[in-house]
């Protein structure tokens, strides 16, 4: 973990409100495990705290994040000019840990794709991506995936399965019978709840990346907790013990 100054080399629209930010860092981020994140100091006077972003890609001194403009912080970030300075703290948190010999199923909802992109790159053709979005245009986010098989789901039915991505997975789940499926997910909180309902009967292993408002990003403030089934100490820090948790440990 390090706090590294960098310069923005790219901050462009991918599609809709999704943007890709590339930063050239003074020092490499070092060893990153898929699912880890960084805290970015957005260069804007009105944005006081740092913002957490999944590490989309990290190679040497080049860091890429993909984000969606959803509020004050991301709005200000979208206005940051190429060549401008940025501080990046990371890598942070605990990422995905795929079990050996399992068949990986990756489920992403919307911008949740940014949280599983590194995992998909590592798994290559072994993984299948179930990608749920609102409409067809957003599927362009995953256009840079090479050999991974993608099952798209669009809420408006403009491409692939018409409906939510967990329902699509439900239709396909029988294909993985006897193949030791393991699910890795990142998406809106409703997605984790439907995944739990779907995977509950066979208690298929599932690691889910959780999102929460953060202040410090490194376990100092206890601001970003998630409720777990641990009765003696239910609230775990998303930034420190997470952001990836076993779905079966979460109290959803």
């Amino acid at each position: 973990m390090d706090d590294i100054p960098g310069k923005i080399t790219e901050n462009d629209r991918v599609t809709g409100s999704y943007r890709r930010l590339t930063v050239r860092l003074e020092r490499p981020l070092g060893r990153v495990s898929p699912g880890q994140f960084v805290m970015v100091k957005v260069p804007d006077r009105d944005v006081f705290l740092r913002r957490p972003f999944s590490i989309y890609d990290s190679r040497g001194r080049t860091l890429t994040i993909v984000y969606r403009v959803v509020g004050k912080g991301t709005d200000a970030l979208s206005a940051a000019a190429r060549g401008g300075p940025l501080m990046v703290l990371g890598p942070l948190g605990r990422g995905f840990a795929p079990g050996r010999g399992n068949t990986p199923i990756v489920v992403a909802g919307g911008i949740g794709y940014a949280g599983v992109r590194m995992l998909l790159t590592r798994l290559g053709s072994r993984a299948t991506l179930f990608f749920g979005v609102m409409e067809k245009e957003e599927l362009r986010l995953a256009a840079d995936l090479g050999e991974t098989r993608v099952f798209p789901a669009t809420m408006d039915g403009s491409c692939g399965f018409a409906g939510d991505v967990v329902s699509l997975l439900g239709q396909r789940l029988d294909d993985y019978r006897g193949k030791r499926p393991e699910v890795f997910a990142c998406g809106p909180s409703g997605m984790a709840r439907s995944l739990k309902a779907l995977l509950e009967p066979e208690r298929i292993p599932c690691q889910v990346s959780v999102e929460e408002r953060m202040a410090c990003g490194m376990g100092l403030c206890f601001g970003c907790v998630v409720a777990t089934s641990d009765e003696t100490n239910p609230y775990k820090r998303v930034c420190k013990e997470g952001p990836v948790f076993s779905l079966w440990d979460l109290s959803l």
């Binding site: 706090d3 410090c216 206890f222």
Partner: protein, 300 residues
């Protein structure tokens, strides 16, 4: 070379900078970035006799020049802190201040009693912003008589120096400071967060009610330190919106013997090491032999 060392309750701290309670986890989390004994002392997360789960989320909200938090005093409990985390500070010879709280007088007493004196324990810091559940939830820190009573009770059950951390949400902080001092407090920490709210305009509802911290709080805290340090003869630890060396100097000059840095660490995790280095450079440039020489320099 001037010295940043300060004497607090008979213990020498290598510098007057420490974290505000609850803003540096259990102290171990910062180690990947800098050694915790960089600070003069580590202030524990608020501890209670029994563990506390804390509040559901959202627990934090950003403001333009600060933030609100409503963590709800989540902590592992005082026993677990000493069995699990204290050895880490012993190993580093890092002095600590033990912040603690209770929701009744009994809880304060039971917590204070359970802490044995140790050469690394500089003081106990009582959080007086807690609601007293036996008195209809009114905070212990709001009435001078209640402050006097609770401080005196705790004073009787421990030999460790006792600091009262006061809430600014009172009619007269000077009066409360005097009450704590008369009750037997050896020092004061000024100030805790201010009660605040954020409204979500789109959703037409309150997003979060919690304690306000960050630069917005600095002038309020400075005034409290300036006034109280002239009203009571005990050391004051200043806290509220310190972001840089100049802010820390302002608190020392206002009458604080030491300072605590909280929210700044979330914005820049190296804020404290930078402030300490900055104080060192300032002291050298000033030609003063000792940082304590500027404490209260702004008194009238």
């Amino acid at each position: 070379m001037g010295s940043l060392a300060v004497d607090l309750f008979g213990k020498m701290l290598k510098n007057p900078v420490m974290n505000a309670s609850g803003t540096l986890g259990y102290g171990v989390e910062i180690e990947p970035l800098w050694p915790v004994d960089t600070m003069g002392a580590y202030v524990t997360k608020g501890l209670s006799a029994a563990p506390h789960h804390g509040n559901p989320t959202p627990r934090v909200w950003e403001e333009r020049c600060g933030m609100l938090n409503s963590i709800g005093l989540q902590n592992v409990g005082v026993d677990r802190f000493f069995s699990h985390y204290f050895p880490f500070f012993v190993e580093r010879r890092c002095p600590i201040i033990v912040n603690f709280f209770g929701f009744s007088e009994e809880e304060y007493l039971s917590c204070a009693r359970s802490i044995e004196p140790h050469d690394l324990i500089v003081a106990l810091e009582m959080n007086l912003s807690c609601p007293n559940i036996k008195k209809g939830g009114i905070s212990f820190g709001k009435e001078a008589s209640a402050v006097h009573a609770i401080v005196r009770s705790v004073r009787e059950v421990t030999k460790i120096p006792l600091i009262a951390k006061l809430t600014p949400e009172v009619k007269s902080l000077v009066e409360i400071a005097r009450a704590a001092c008369d009750g037997g407090a050896d020092g004061l920490t000024l100030i805790n967060t201010m009660p605040a709210a954020v409204v979500d305009v789109k959703g037409r509802r309150v997003s979060l009610k919690g304690g306000l911290s960050g630069p917005l709080l600095k002038p309020v805290a400075l005034r409290a330190v300036h006034e109280c340090s002239q009203a009571v003869p005990i050391p004051i630890i200043g806290v509220g919106g310190i972001m840089n060396t100049e802010d820390a100097l302002a608190f020392l000059m206002a009458g604080a013997s030491a300072v605590q840095v909280g929210t700044a660490t979330f914005v820049d995790p190296f804020a404290m090491p930078k402030i300490i280095a900055g104080l060192d450079s300032w002291l050298d440039a000033s030609g003063l032999a000792d940082i304590s020489a500027i404490v209260g320099a702004a008194h009238g």
